[in-house]
């Protein structure tokens, strides 16, 4: 029970299938997400990542096992309360706009939740500010860049003040600049608001910012740990069609050649600093 109190999301041996004649999309999966934690989920296409996301806010219901969100057991009765707590940003920035201006779009979610007008205006302003899009409040969403569109989508979710934001491959259709914008935004809102983040991604660079990484394979959890711990298992990742960041590859090669690296580096700077220390003692 203690665990339940601490974690915001809890999956207890959750199984899900889309069709009876297909294998389980998720099989007896247990996982937790704590308050204000940043968890990344990686895995090849079809490994069950998006199914996890859809189960978290009741777009799907499990056939077996139980899901708790903020202590509420997911069911037909609780799903509407749960959706207020869990916001989702999807892959395609063009598929999630309804408003004719940026601020109308952010307002849409609030109207659906019956928020009074005065509070709505405040929330819209706050959430657009949090994603750095306040100057664009009167702009038409479809004229924005991909990165800007996704930031507005995040603002729309933020405005409803959820406890968890799920980004389901939200950067997949963006160019490198757009991806950087989103990652900066995510880090900023994490600092400013008490919110948990679940990021489903193929981008290894994005994974390095997470507190914890869950690697999915064929509907099951294959590896779980900090980014450093996960990237050490580069052979396993490679076998299931994933990759590790460039810096982790160099570190692995150097270790093989007898360089006694102690720490798993997450970026070039960390690796070079450790090499420099070793070099000075050589």
């Amino acid at each position: 029970m203690r665990e339940l109190e601490q974690s915001f999301i809890q999956f207890d041996e959750v199984s899900f299938w889309y069709n009876h004649d297909e294998p389980w999309a998720l099989k007896e999966l247990s996982l937790t997400i704590k308050k204000n934690e940043f968890v990344a989920v990686i895995g090849h296409n079809g490994s069950g990542k998006s199914t996890i996301a859809k189960l978290m806010n009741g777009l799907l219901f499990p056939q077996k096992g139980e899901i708790f969100v903020d202590g509420l057991r997911l069911s037909e009765e609780t799903v509407w309360d749960i959706r207020k707590k869990v916001g989702m940003v999807f892959q395609n920035p063009d598929n999630q706009f309804v408003g004719t201006t940026v601020e109308d779009d952010v307002a849409f979610g609030l109207e659906n939740h019956g928020i009074p007008r005065k509070e709505m205006i405040e929330r819209i302003e706050q959430s657009l500010k949090a994603v750095g899009m306040l100057d664009y409040r009167k702009h038409e969403p479809h004229r924005l860049s991909g990165g800007q569109k996704q930031r507005v989508a995040i603002a729309g979710v933020l405005a409803v003040a959820p406890d968890l934001i799920i980004l389901d491959e939200a950067t997949a259709m963006l160019d490198p600049k757009g991806r950087t914008e989103i990652m900066k935004t995510v880090q900023r809102i994490r600092k400013e608001k008490k919110v948990s983040i679940l990021m489903i991604t193929h981008d290894l660079h994005e994974v390095t910012f997470a507190d914890r990484v869950i690697v999915m394979n064929r509907g099951q959890k294959l590896i779980e740990g900090t980014p450093k711990e996960v990237f050490q298992q580069h052979e396993t990742l490679w076998e299931i069609g994933l990759d590790i960041p460039f810096v982790a590859k160099i570190a692995a090669e150097l270790k093989q050649r007898g360089i006694p690296l102690n720490k798993q580096p997450l970026n070039n700077k960390e690796l070079l600093e450790e090499l420099w220390r070793l070099h000075s003692n050589m």
């Binding site: 895995g43 296409n45 160019d175 994933l242 460039f246 160099i250 070079l272």
Partner: protein, 290 residues
């Protein structure tokens, strides 16, 4: 098929308040059978450029030559259909263009439209399926029952069915997982070699450009900003950063290494194993050469 752009400009909605100059005085040459990568951030004109390759767009000024075909402003090209048979374009998320009831029907749609006999088309199918690594069992299934990666392969197969001489790929691996990305890029490279196709890849991945392309074109604000062999162009960190592009990870690492250790390891297209050896030499002897 060789491709030449001669002072090509393209303006969307010309002579209106919405006029937008998407390409500006663009000239370059792509030799037949080469593999060219086109790089530039969003809005740099890449998509406008590739739509000139099969005549979806006609230049507002200048001339585009694709083999014997010519595209010029004001001239109706009677051979447009022929051009489109020769130039296959794989647009972003090509699986969105699937529509037939079965994979087989979808594969046959293009060639039937171009008037190829049904028996001739059917003979081609096994070869094409093999090229895109799909089993024959998929033929009678609905394309919409397949996985995302398989759907994309069907869409690509549909384009290969026309036996194009030029294959244009607009970010063909967007949305795929790293393993799927590797497989698909290797598949295109094999097709490029086996069929001696002229391949044009629009990409954000400097790694792919470095690995597969013979030549790169860097676009910025509708103009050609840089061009040359990848190992010459993609190492120019300052110049690329000035237009919002990153260098390949290897080049970035080498630059940071030099800053820290004060010794330069030159970039020569080395792989990670070779890089590790280079680094060991610098750390032991203070220089990179043996």
């Amino acid at each position: 098929m060789e491709i030449t752009f001669e002072h090509v400009s393209h303006i969307y909605q010309p002579n209106t308040p919405f006029a937008f100059h998407a390409l500006k005085d663009l000239s370059f040459h792509i030799p037949s059978g080469s593999y060219t990568a086109i790089i530039g951030h969003t809005g740099s004109g890449k998509s406008t450029l590739i739509q000139h390759l099969n005549g979806l767009l006609i230049p507002t000024e200048g001339r585009v030559k694709v083999g014997d075909f010519q595209l010029e402003p004001g001239k109706k090209n009677k051979h447009m259909k022929d051009l489109r048979k020769h130039v296959g374009v794989v647009f972003q998320y090509p699986e969105h263009q699937l529509f037939e009831e079965t994979v087989k029907k979808d594969l046959m749609f293009g060639p039937l439209n171009f008037g190829t006999a049904e028996t001739t088309i059917e003979k081609r199918i096994p070869e094409i399926l093999e090229a895109v690594q799909l089993p024959e069992e998929v033929l009678d299934r609905s394309p919409f029952d397949l996985s995302g990666g398989q759907m994309r392969r069907v869409a690509i197969a549909g384009i290969l069915m026309m036996d194009p001489n030029v294959l244009v790929l607009d970010e063909p691996t967007a949305g795929l997982d790293p393993g799927g990305r590797r497989e698909m890029m290797d598949m295109f490279y094999n097709l490029h070699k086996e069929k001696e196709m002229t391949t044009i890849l629009v990409t954000h991945s400097m790694e792919d450009a470095m690995k597969y392309a013979d030549y790169v074109l860097i676009m910025n604000e509708g103009r050609l900003y840089m061009e040359g062999q990848p190992e010459e162009v993609l190492i120019q960190k300052k110049k690329l950063e000035a237009v919002g592009l990153d260098v390949p990870e290897m080049v970035e690492f080498l630059s940071m290494f030099e800053e820290k250790f004060g010794t330069k390891i030159p970039f020569h297209g080395q792989n990670i194993k070779e890089l590790a050896s280079d680094m060991l030499r610098v750390m032991k002897w203070g220089k990179c050469d043996e």
